[in-house]
């Protein structure tokens, strides 16, 4: 078999094999069992909690959880705005990069608070080291930690009992950062540092290139730390502008494996953690199965298409033995680039190791679909929340189909929960389609606005991708879009903030309401949700509800492009 294909099989197998023990460990962390890091962190944390006046034994209701989450996010936003708009004169700026404009800072601050990491700037010229460290890298930890913490709240709500007490948010949040994200990041960062990723605070290095003897500036900086957490926390915001396609962010095939495994490791491990945490392994297997089915559905054709090459180039009689290599790094090849492209979009990570703009049209569509569904693994913590909404809808329809008032985990699903689930399911297409529609309108009225490098279908895909990426809190760019303008900074910022927090509020509210309902033990008439039949139902709901609403838009973008260049 082709080595390139073996490479991606290895990556996926490795991820799943690592995710199982990690899931068990995560479940242990949240259950409050002792772990190997307790001796180091417990004494430290005790002081922090005492100073902040937090009693971690005090359990919170779902509303209190949300208030805690939103409050700290609100404060973080202002912290980020301050750093980004003042980094020019603040210390640790050897390259003398300027402070950000208000709209760019707005976009960037939201982007990092919301775990999106959409970057309308380029790291080398747009950020100081202080900003990279105390703002961006720091936010990559806390936004991921917040997502995981709120996911545990939903886990708690799924327990077989009636209670409104769902654990302590600050406890889960801190544990997510110190017990899970930090040690894993240390491992990943160490591996990539030894493979050549810089970790220093020195400014640009200059050297004389062989090409015409020019002096070339080479950016450096504290990159390894950021690269590790950007992958593990499904953040995706790179230290350098071109992200993990940059030779210093992702030097070789080994680092590529490590980074790519990191992208989907925690999202998968969270699914297993659910099984260990609630002692419902079959349920987590069902969820993992549905997610993997969707993932493979997007992955396999993409790998095939990228390895097959670009039909437009083939028709010119040019051989493409390496597959479609436009916009890809030779050290990774077409298969690993396609694999990365799909993993990074299904998980809301958004780091890239190839130019998504240059993918063959349908691979671009599958990347888009990954973000449109946003629940096949999904972002750390929040991916499961998105999936939870689909479960609720699937439970409702299939519950009716077996002649019973629908129930999930022994709790009845009624009008109130359906209202919330419907609104959240609606929100994603609304934000993406409305954003793209507005931009299309503006573009039609002002054809010379200069946003698009490639008008026509591809240009449409670029706009669609930008909003999809924002709404999925993904953060990858199709590129080819002039996006550092007032219009794109503001509209994407608004979409990011809405699509980060509403899809957290919705599922947590549903879970909280359900947790407080009377627990009904299972009977022979109860629909079991941990079966493959039900899994198929969830899959169908996702594909028909999430994917099909984008069919007309995809037709005008990648599908038309595909048929045109055939």
């Amino acid at each position: 078999m082709n080595t390139e294909i073996l490479g991606i099989i290895l990556m996926f197998t490795l991820t799943v094999l690592l995710a199982i023990p990690l899931g068990r460990y995560i479940a242990k962390v949240y259950s409050g069992e002792s772990t190997f890091l307790d001796p180091i962190f417990n004494p430290l944390e005790k002081h922090f909690f005492r100073i902040s006046g937090i009693n971690i034994r005090q359990e919170m209701t779902w509303k209190q959880h949300l208030i805690a989450l939103l409050t700290i996010n609100f404060l973080w936003f202002f912290w980020a705005m301050f750093i980004l708009m003042n980094q020019g004169w603040l210390p640790w700026n050897p390259d003398k990069n300027p402070s950000m404009s208000a709209d760019l800072a707005f976009n960037t601050a939201i982007s990092f608070v919301a775990n999106t990491n959409l970057q309308h700037y380029s790291g080398e010229t747009g950020m100081s080291y202080l900003g990279q460290i105390v703002c961006l890298t720091f936010f990559q930890f806390i936004s991921a930690g917040a997502g995981m913490a709120i996911c545990v709240v939903v886990f708690n709500a799924m327990k077989e009992r009636t209670s409104e007490k769902l654990g302590n948010f600050y406890n889960y949040f801190l544990k997510s950062c110190t017990r899970i994200l930090l040690p894993l990041s240390l491992i990943v960062a160490t591996i990539i540092v030894f493979n050549g990723t810089p970790m220093n605070i020195e400014g640009k290095a200059s050297f004389i290139s062989m090409q015409a003897g020019d002096t070339v500036q080479l950016s450096r900086g504290p990159a390894a730390a950021m690269v590790a957490i950007k992958q593990l926390g499904t953040n995706g915001g790179g230290f350098f502008g071109v992200n993990s396609a940059h030779p210093l962010e992702n030097p070789n095939y080994l680092t590529n494996i490590v980074e790519n495994v990191s992208i989907i490791l925690i999202p998968i491990a969270m699914v297993f953690a659910l099984g260990f945490y609630l002692k419902r392994k079959r349920l987590s297997l069902m969820i993992f199965g549905v997610m993997t089915l969707g993932f493979l559905l997007f992955l396999l054709p993409s790998v095939y298409l990228e390895m097959k090459g670009n039909t437009a180039i083939s028709s010119m009689g040019i051989s493409q033995q390496l597959g479609s290599m436009e916009g890809k790094e030779v050290r990774f090849g077409s298969a690993a680039s396609a694999y990365w492209g799909i993993t990074t979009t299904v998980t809301s990570n958004g780091s890239v190791n190839a130019m998504h703009d240059s993918f063959t049209p349908l691979t671009g569509m599958f990347a888009l679909l990954g973000m449109m569904v946003n629940a096949f693994y999904g972002g750390v913590g929040v991916g499961f929340l998105n999936f939870y909404i689909f479960i609720i809808i699937a439970v409702f329809i299939s519950g009716l189909m077996v002649g019973r008032t629908p129930e999930f985990m022994g709790k009845k699903i009624e009008a109130r929960e359906m209202k919330i689930a419907t609104i959240i399911a609606l929100l994603h297409p609304l934000l993406i389609l409305a954003g793209t529609a507005l931009s299309s309108y503006v573009f039609v009225v002002h054809p010379n606005i200069g946003w698009l490098n490639n008008p026509s279908f591809h240009g449409f895909s670029e706009m669609l991708y930008e909003y999809t990426s924002s709404a999925a809190n993904n953060g990858s760019g199709f590129e080819g879009l002039g996006d550092n303008t007032l219009w794109w900074n503001i509209t994407c910022g608004i979409i990011m903030i809405l699509s980060r927090f509403l899809p957290i509020i919705g599922p947590v509210a549903i879970a909280g309401i359900l947790a407080n309902k009377k627990y009904i033990p299972e009977s022979a008439g109860t629909l079991k949700t941990d079966t493959s039949t039900f899994g198929l139902m969830v899959f169908a709901v996702i594909m028909i509800l999430a994917a099909l609403s984008f069919f007309p838009a995809l037709t005008l973008g990648p599908i038309s492009e595909f048929f045109t260049i055939q």
């Binding site: 009716l400 002649g403 399911a425 793209t436 169908a540 099909l548 069919f551 838009a553 037709t555 005008l556």
Partner: protein, 679 residues
């Protein structure tokens, strides 16, 4: 069960008329899905007029065709609701007809006194609290409760059961229903309902829609469907700027067609018909429900409380064996037990005499001055005092032991042993004494209804736990419970035991159904999630329950549970079908929208439809005719099979999910082949 064909000519006519009346936006607004279709139809009407002089939006004929199909879609949906209403109404009307304008013999009150002055008034003038008299041959004018007397009544008008029943004052069989006929004797009845407020009146109002409220599940489903509708509003509205960007003009007709095809019109159009049909099915099973919610809840029932007598066993116990005591002579024992039973009119008493005769016993005659002692709850025995002064008693074991021991006689050990054996075999022992001397014991056995085990097995597969309620002792109860196949039993049940059992089950999250007739059942009926009162029961019981069974059939609960499940399943499967249809509709319409300006998209036209116009027309035509095509299914309900939830889901997903994806591909292609001839 009475069966009528789904579409009777008279009903269809009435429903057709109602289909137009229901176009009124105020009425259709209750259904968000169909309301948006109506808006689309109005827009299409304007476009059609516009295209008379200007063909920029397509030809007049094409727009007219789209308009007509959309209009038909609306009518079809309205028709579905109307025919369901008409059927329910027809059913209820036939019940109501029996009680219209019958003469009533009312007793007027003069001051504080009830005199015997009887006036004849029309039944419609009877008010709650009025008292009337019914004699042999009279039709009972309205619902009420007997306060004096006893009568045989022919209830066939409402139950269809020809055997007459006995109703008497006091006790649990005091209720009479308007429209039934007194066959013998005379009763005095107090009116229990205001005119127009009887259960039947309420039921008719429910079916007719005026007072029909959406059930919780229906509300939740409507929200989901409204959500689906909104998604497609977004999809269609945003398509306009997308198309402008791609320089692809899309006609208004195409937009509206795409929208109407994508929103779940199939389930939206049939939703209320399904709900009404559920209540109608209950009515056809001779059950009057006080709300649609009750039917729906019935489908969720986890625990079913059933009275033993009449439900699980046939009426009453029968004597199966006589066991004389060791020191008593057999002849004397047989004589005594027959003598004590001759005057006993209860079925047990009769069965004792029958058994004695079949064993070759010559029935002795009872002298006229013998005094019959009735059974009372205190003595728990009955018997006879003969003219020679001999006292014969038969009764429950401990009552008789007390009796004999009080008189200084020892209770024979072997009889006590026999009593135990009988009890543990599910029988009821009756100890016979003469002058406080124990003569022996009679074994009475319950006869379990044939076929009842299968019904319980079916319930178990549905996930419903059955509980037998009986006054028997625990040993007997256990035996019968095991033999009949019920899951649990309450022995020596007092009314409050039922109540406590229901509360305990409800506390653990279960939904409980029960059936009852007596006033002492009323609290439990009210506590149960589904309380079915028998029509023969007291007014209090009927008021407390949320359904009334006209047939007084205790096994009816099983049918009610299935009706409830069917109702939910029909909604669920048609929702799935409706949404699954979208896949094919997308593939029909989306290529049609863009193919003119992006010819390469013909690769997406996987159905190979004739032209963009024919593709759009075929999709909307399919979308319209699927509604009437599914009306029979909506009215009859999807069949419930007790094969376990997962297997049921698999089955329905295969039929309605996969079928919902495939059928429209075939349907649209066929319609396209036909439509292509005209374009």
């Amino acid at each position: 069960m009475k069966s009528t064909s789904l579409f009777q000519a008279a009903l269809v006519k009435e429903a057709l008329k109602a289909s137009f009346v229901k176009l009124n936006p105020k009425i259709i607004f209750r259904n968000p899905v169909m309301f948006t279709v109506e808006l689309g139809t109005i827009v299409m009407f304007c476009v059609t007029i516009f295209s008379l002089n200007n063909t920029s939006q397509g030809s007049f004929a094409y727009n007219l065709a789209v308009f007509i199909i959309l209009f038909a879609t609306l009518l079809f949906a309205n028709f579905a609701e109307a025919i369901a209403e008409a059927r329910g109404k027809a059913q209820a009307d036939s019940l109501r007809k029996t009680r219209e304008e019958t003469p009533a013999k009312i007793i007027r009150v003069i001051g504080e006194m009830y005199t015997n002055e009887i006036q004849i008034v029309s039944s419609s003038q009877l008010k709650k609290g009025d008292i009337f008299v019914c004699e042999t041959g009279d039709i009972i004018p309205t619902d009420g409760e007997i306060i004096e007397g006893l009568a045989t009544i022919d209830e066939s008008a409402i139950t269809g059961e020809s055997a007459p029943v006995i109703r008497e004052a006091g006790g649990d069989k005091s209720s009479v229903t308007g429209g039934t006929k007194v066959l013998s004797d005379k009763i005095k009845v107090i009116v229990t309902t205001q005119p127009g407020e009887s259960f039947l009146d309420k039921m008719i109002a429910l079916v007719e829609g005026a007072s029909r409220q959406k059930t919780p599940n229906e509300i939740a489903l409507t929200i989901l469907l409204a959500g689906f509708t909104l998604v497609f509003v977004i999809v269609c509205v945003t398509l306009k700027p997308f198309a402008d960007y791609a320089n692809t003009p899309i006609t208004i007709a195409a937009f509206i067609s795409l929208f109407v095809c994508l929103i779940p019109t199939t389930i939206g159009g049939l939703l209320s018909a399904i709900g009404i049909a559920g209540m109608d099915r209950a009515l056809r099973a001779n059950v009057i429900t006080k709300s649609g919610k009750a039917v729906e809840t019935a489908g969720d029932i986890d625990v079913l409380l059933l009275d033993k007598t009449g439900t699980i066993t046939i009426g009453n116990r029968k004597a199966t064996n006589f066991y004389p005591a060791q020191n008593a002579d057999k002849q004397g024992f047989m004589n005594a037990l027959v003598l004590s039973s001759l005057a006993d009119e209860t079925p047990e008493g009769k069965s004792i005499v029958e058994l004695a005769i079949s064993q070759g016993m010559k029935v002795p005659s009872l002298s006229t001055d013998a005094e019959f002692i009735r059974f009372t709850a205190e003595t728990r025995s009955s018997g006879v005092n003969l003219s020679d002064g001999a006292r014969i008693r038969k009764g429950a074991f401990d009552a008789m032991r007390n009796l004999s021991e009080k008189a200084g006689n020892q209770f024979p050990i072997e009889v006590a042993e026999q009593v135990k054996t009988i009890s543990s075999n599910g029988g009821t022992p009756l100890v016979v004494t003469k002058n406080e001397q124990v003569l022996g014991v009679i074994e009475l056995q319950d006869i379990i209804k044939p076929g009842i085990q299968e019904r319980f097995e079916r319930l178990r597969k549905m996930g419903v736990k059955t509980v037998m309620v009986t006054g028997d002792n625990p040993l007997t109860a256990k035996y019968i419970a095991a033999k009949a196949g019920v899951d649990d039993f309450i022995a020596e049940a007092k009314p409050e035991d039922k109540m406590n059992y229901i509360r305990a089950e409800q506390a653990s999250g279960k939904l409980v159904a029960m059936m009852g007739d007596g006033t002492n059942d009323a609290p439990a009926l009210a506590q149960a999630d589904v309380g079915v009162a028998m029509n023969s029961g007291t007014a209090a019981a009927k008021e407390a329950g949320n359904m009334v069974d006209l047939d007084n059939d205790p096994t009816k609960l099983i049918e009610i549970v299935e009706i409830g499940k069917q109702l939910l399943m029909t909604r669920g499967t048609l929702t799935t079908f409706s949404i699954a249809n979208d896949v094919a509709k997308y593939f029909a319409i989306v290529p049609a929208l863009f193919i003119a300006s992006i010819p390469a998209l013909k690769g997406l036209n996987i159905m190979n439809l004739h032209s963009p116009e024919s593709a759009i027309l075929s999709a909307v035509i399919f979308n319209a005719i699927i509604i009437p095509a599914l009306i029979p299914l909506a009215l009859r309900g999807v069949e419930y099979k007790p094969i376990g939830a997962s297997a049921l889901l698999r089955r329905n997903l295969l039929i309605y999910g996969l079928g919902g994806i495939i059928i429209p591909f075939i349907g649209i292609k066929i319609i396209d082949l036909l439509v292509a001839n005209f374009i």
